[in-house]
Symmetry: C2
Subunit: 125 residues, 2 copies
DNA sequence: GCTTGACTTGGACAAAGTCCATTGTAGGAT
DNA sequence: ATCCTACAATGGACTTTGTCCAAGTCAAGC
C-alpha cells in the first residue's frame, strides 16, 4: 500500500460518483501532484481485479469506476447528459436466460443498462 | 445509394456476425478497393440512425455492428475470446425496474449483456 | 459545357488506454 | 548505517478507435 494507491482509493471512496480514469487522476493529482496517469490506470486495474471497484462503460467514451462494488446493482443512464444512477431491479435477469439460449456457455454475470432521459434533461427541452 | 453504401450494406448482410467498423472496412475494401475508412464510418452511422443496424459495444475496444436490427435481442459474450451470440431471454427487464428506482427518468431502452465463457474456450483451458 | 450539391477521400487530429525503459524507494541483509 | 534487491511509479511514446475537415469527384440539371 503505497501513497499513490492510498490516494486513488481515497478519491474513489470520497465521492460515490462514477468517475472516469482521467477524473480519478485529476483528483488524485490535487492530493499528490506527482502521481502519473499510468499509476492511476495500474491501480484502478488492480482494484478491479481485486473486486473492490467495478468497471462501468455506459458510453463509448471512457470507462468509469464504481466504488459501489459490494451490493450488486445495475445502471440507469441519461442519454442526453450522461448522468448515471445505480438501480436495483427486482428479478434476476440471469434466470431469464433459458438453457437453450445459452449455447453451452457458462454464464457468470449479467450487466443491465437502462437508457432514458433524466428529469433534468427532460425539463430543458 | 452509391456504390460505397451498397458495398457496406452487402458486407453486413453477407455475414450475420458482429463486425467492427474496421472489419467492415476491410471486407468492403475487398470489393471496392478505393473505399475510405471515413465513408464506412459515415455509412454505418447513417444505417444506425435509420435503425437498419444496431451498435453493440461489449468491450472497450471497438463498436460492433449488428445487422439483426429487426428482432429485439440481447447479447451473450465470451470473456475469453470475445465471441458474441444473440440471445432472447424470457421476461422483460424493463418491467423489473420499479417506479421508485427510476428517479424520474423516462426509461426507453434496456441493454442486457450476459458474460461468461463459451464452450470452445472452456474446453481449451 | 458549366454549375451545383452531395458524396467520397485521405490525412490530420483527438481521446483513451497500454507499454516500456528508466528512476525511485522501502525493507531486508550485511 | 549502508548496500541490495525487488517492486512500484514515472513519463513519454505508441496504439487503437473514431471524428473532422478541406479538397476532390461525379452526376444531374440548367
Amino acid at each position: 500500500m503505497t501513497a499513490q494507491r492510498r490516494v486513488v482509493a481515497e478519491v474513489l471512496e470520497g465521492d460515490h460518483v462514477h468517475l472516469t480514469a482521467d477524473e480519478v487522476h485529476a483528483r488524485a493529482v490535487e492530493r499528490l501532484p506527482e502521481i502519473s496517469r499510468a499509476t492511476v490506470y495500474n491501480t484502478l486495474g488492480e482494484m478491479v481485479s481485486l473486486g473492490e471497484v467495478i468497471e462501468v462503460s455506459t458510453d463509448r467514451r471512457a470507462k468509469r469506476y464504481d466504488p459501489n462494488a459490494h451490493r450488486p446493482h445495475h445502471h440507469l443512464v441519461c442519454g442526453r447528459c450522461g448522468a448515471i444512477r445505480d438501480v436495483h431491479p427486482s428479478g434476476n435477469p440471469l434466470a431469464d436466460l433459458p438453457d437453450d439460449e445459452r449455447f453451452g456457455f457458462t454464464v457468470s454475470d449479467v450487466e443491465v443498462t437502462y437508457r432514458g432521459t433524466c428529469p433534468n434533461c427532460a425539463a430543458t427541452v
